[in-house]
Homo-oligomer: 194 residues x 2
Amino acid sequence: MRADAQRNYARLLAVAEEEIALNGADASLEQIARVAGVGSGTVRRHFPNRHALLAAVFRDRVENLCAHARERVGRPDTRAALLEWLSAVTTSAATIRGLAMALNRDKAADAEHGHCATTQLAEAGEPLVRQAAEVLAPGVTITDLIALITGIALATEDHPDPAAEANRLLGLAVTGLSPLDGRIRRPEPASGAS
Amino acid sequence: MRADAQRNYARLLAVAEEEIALNGADASLEQIARVAGVGSGTVRRHFPNRHALLAAVFRDRVENLCAHARERVGRPDTRAALLEWLSAVTTSAATIRGLAMALNRDKAADAEHGHCATTQLAEAGEPLVRQAAEVLAPGVTITDLIALITGIALATEDHPDPAAEANRLLGLAVTGLSPLDGRIRRPEPASGAS
DNA sequence: TGCTAAACGGCGGGGGTCTCCGTATCGTAC
DNA sequence: GTACGATACGGAGACCCCCGCCGTTTAGCA
């Protein structure tokens, strides 16, 4: 890769990050080119489509989350290990503008490209789910959890405090919105009352 | 309202519904105008912005859901009443293309316009939540439930069977992904096994 | 220092949104 | 039945964006 290409690539990545933080996942590519001081063709050469740009911008963040997951595998308290990681993912997805949408989108383009962000996250988180299977509701997969998290992040996008709200909703989903179900009982059957 | 205006309004609504079903919430307004056989100005006169169009297109659906909620108020099994309604909302949000996104977007523009779809839904569903408070996790509000549902619907948008998947995720969130929490216990501690 | 492949920039086509205004049409009053 | 005013219509124009393409510049090597 030529030196000027490297420069432009780095510069574009930095500008894109800012621009996406400012205007969300569908920030203007032209605008990014303009701010970076390069032609629009250069953007498209480095990143053939928006998906590629998003993937590149969020790569580090996603890898951090993956690492975060890996270092939690094998912990004695499997439930806490999983929940902490889920909370971390939720916080990132809710805080970093555009990340949730990026994750949501590439689920669609997942089949073709192979190693998208969601797949990476899923692979990294799967061991945590497996080792916590005992304390998980039957049928829960890592894919479900990621879907739920990205959904929550999308839904809390324009909340005053997205991270807090998203984590609160995640907590509710984890312990159950209405856990009573025959299989699972409430703490006190509360004799009588309405 | 003049007769031709009424005709165009109805026609636009019908075309918009199809077009949104086909291309999602950000279907082209120009395209809608073209298919309806009117000028683009006419679209923008009847619906100043995309939000207004979406609101109009989904008005009936949302009102149905509201009615659905109202007729469930007062039922003996408050939990079932609420859960059935939540499931109905989830199915609609997941099935009707663009609805989830519309619900998600107008939460933002809610403050200014006053009576958006989400507010309507919230007002209609609130009694169901109140009367089921006993069997709900503490702190759960109707707003939370709607946020969660729209999130789930957004996240399952491009699944082969969105309604089924969305309802499954909703079910998991209702009974709890990992209900064990001190307050709530699992059915069988499952002696041994993997 | 010269050459070549790689990277650059920006033009042109297609499409979308939004505003505005001249014109056609409806509904009514006579 | 006609004439008129209000109302709605249609589309042109300005602006932005995405995308593909190609002539030109430049980095890196011999």
